[in-house]
């Protein structure tokens, strides 16, 4: 076993830390929030140029053919600065599904790798909560030259900036994954912001025409592919969460040395030292748990799913401890929008509740 970065991973991390560190200042992120769609289009191009969007894309499709450990290295750096660009949805979730699709998706994949296509999963439906595998109300039925897709989707993460959606629907052969372009006839979007300043959409699909080439997977294959893609996405979220915790350790320990109260740097108070120690322990354990989950990703689905669920519970609870205490250590400043820790807090909340929250993961891990 080797927990140290390979040379390639070291290069990836160095470039990521450099670019993200330079680019994603708190001020920049706060300014981005006030733009129409919330994402940094020029940075996204840089993501593409640095090869980040191509990590999981197979070499034969023009990608790097990398591994989830590489993604986790990068995701940690993204988490360090609460970077909320649609990386997970596009470069992990969609890339996994497209690479495993029954119909060749070379053009879309090429566009994804180039930073042009951004692809969001449209799965949850009204009244549902993390319904991993339930039958869909959205329906794909034969019609016209091919098929017709209708239904309603909620909380499509990063929906406003997506060029395509991967829509889950109930088709003739069971669960079906359908690639739909944004702006296609019959696709209506209602956009909103989330508390971490990322965006999401509700989608209404009204008789959207679908050709055979847009069908990515059906039946058991669709189920398996969706499940794998979601688990990879969950681990990517967990890696960002660990990155966020690690950044909070630095932010808080620096603050404790600088902030004076009762005539001393507050870091002299044993009670606060012990809070920092608790945060350190939680973060260290969380990173270990991330490695565990990564080590199980290639194993059979049941092993993988349980490991990912276990890791998500553990890492999310550690993140709660760390992000809560980070605010507490900052006193009143911690609950302002002007300090990093409040952004980490909100980002951690969003990371926890995407693709299954603690309760969902706990039930899944206990099954």
């Amino acid at each position: 076993m080797d927990f140290n970065l390979s040379d390639l991973q070291r290069m990836l991390l160095d470039s990521a830390e450099r670019f993200i560190g330079d680019h994603y200042s708190l001020e920049h992120r706060r300014a981005l929030r006030d733009t129409a769609d919330g994402i940094d289009h020029s940075a996204w191009q840089t993501f593409a140029e640095l090869g980040w969007l191509a990590i999981l894309v197979p070499e034969e499709l023009g990608g790097l053919g990398g591994a989830m450990t590489d993604v986790a290295v990068l995701a940690g750096a993204l988490g360090n600065r609460c970077v909320r660009e649609p990386f997970t949805g596009t470069a992990v979730l969609a890339a996994t599904i497209l690479a495993g699709a029954q119909s060749a998706q070379d053009a879309v994949v090429e566009s994804l790798v180039a930073g042009q296509a951004r692809i969001a999963l449209a799965h949850d439906e009204p009244g549902e909560r993390y319904a991993d595998s339930a039958p869909r109300h959205s329906a794909l039925v034969a019609g016209g030259p091919g098929f017709v897709l209708s239904g309603q989707k909620m909380m499509v993460l990063d929906g406003p900036t997506a060029t395509h959606f991967i829509v889950t629907a109930q088709g003739p052969e069971g669960l079906t994954l359908v690639l739909v372009e944004d702006g296609a006839d019959g696709v209506a979007r209602s956009d909103y912001a989330l508390y971490d300043d990322s965006r999401a959409s509700d989608l209404t699909l009204s008789g959207v025409t679908v050709g055979a080439g847009q069908i990515l997977a059906t039946g058991e294959a669709a189920q398996a592919l969706l499940s794998l893609a979601l688990d990879r996405a969950r681990v990517t979220l967990a890696a960002q969460s660990v990155g966020s915790m690690e950044a909070e350790l630095e932010i808080c320990s620096a603050y404790l040395k600088e902030r004076q109260q009762f005539g001393h740097p507050i870091g002299k108070f044993q009670a606060l030292q012990h809070i920092m120690a608790d945060m350190f322990v939680a973060t260290h354990q969380a990173r270990s748990m991330l490695y565990f989950a990564l080590s199980r990703l290639e194993q059979p689905a049941s092993v993988r799913e349980r490991a990912v669920a276990l890791a998500r519970v553990h890492i999310a609870e550690a993140a709660q401890l760390v992000s809560r205490q980070s605010i507490q250590l900052h006193g009143g400043y911690g609950v302002t929008d002007e300090y990093e820790v409040s952004h980490h807090y909100r980002r951690q909340l969003v990371l926890e509740k995407q693709f299954g929250d603690i309760g969902f993961s706990l039930a899944r891990a206990s099954a």
Binding site: R129, Y195, D197, F262, L272, G331, V335, D337, L349, G359
Partner: protein, 400 residues
Amino acid sequence: MDLAIDRELDDFRAMVREAIAEMLPPRIAELQKAHGGINSGHAETLEWTRILNERGWSVPHWPAEYGGTGWSPMQLYVFNDEASKAWAPDTCWGATHMCGPVIYTFGSDAQKETFLTAFREGRYFLAQGFSEPGNGSDLARLRTAARREGDRYIVNGQKIWTGGAFASEWGFFLVRTNPDVKPQAGISFLMIKLDSPGVTIRRIPQINGDADLCEVFLDNVEVPAENLIGEEGMGWTYAKFLLDHERTTSSFIFYNKRELARAKALAAAELIDGKPAAEHPEFRSRITRLEAEVTALEWSVLRELANEEFKYDRTAAASTLKVVGSRLQQAVTELQVDLLGPRALRFHAFEPEDRVDAGPLWPTHAEGRTANALIARASTIYGGTLQVQKGIISKLAFGL
């Protein structure tokens, strides 16, 4: 020992409940319910104060000569409980619960006439200027200076966490009038009109999208000497007086009861895998444990109100209420967030002009819950952090 509630209180409760139902405009109740933080909007707070004042109930806890009702502590408790349940906002806390008692206890007749009447009648919002950027939990080190020049003070300095200052006409401030004595002895209690030249107010954007807390910059602000409350140099004593004055407030018991009830309603309404969240064992256990903690807190408050003989320093008990009350504000609002699941992630703007209808897929009960939970992180910080409270307890209860 008599642990039963007086029958007479039940009648009183019925009476105030009915009166509040009659008086409270549904519009204000709905705003309070949606907004649901500690306070509704400032205008609505004042409107509700004026309505209460018409019935003589806007400052029920004050001495009768200043407009109080003469209710017993238990009656006050019942009144506040009922008002909270009905989604009435509080009155302006700084005015009716902090500055008011200082003025009727230590102020001159003229000050009583000027300020107490205005507070009672809800004429304006009042801001509290205690904390400074350099001293969160360490009030004695405050640096905002008021230099006496003839019949006025020249005030220079900076205050922070001044809630609602942008919407306030006046503020009550702790200022240093004498830099040459030991820190606690040089502090005075000053009323400052916030439209005075030299006062600049900056709203601080908060974690939850609101910006109620402010920074107040005081740059050569001239304040008439008659705005000094009580004696010069006694500000520290008055501040301690007002903090001691309300031993049970920091329990946020009414808030905690109301928000737990709201969480239970959410648990009944939100479905997970087609079943109400209330039937899911994890949520059920969480709710039960929180209900136990809220119940214990309520009985801790009752012990204080009933003046239980207490072996330890009473301030240690008051800090206990604060420790538990603040922990509960966080736990109960986080429970609400978790009950909403992914729907809790949607941002809802605070300013009325920025609010949008979330559309048919979004239940109104989702709005405001996360904003509340986010700002509840401050409950273990303001008014003496959790760590400060624990220090008080270990010192006063055990002499450590």
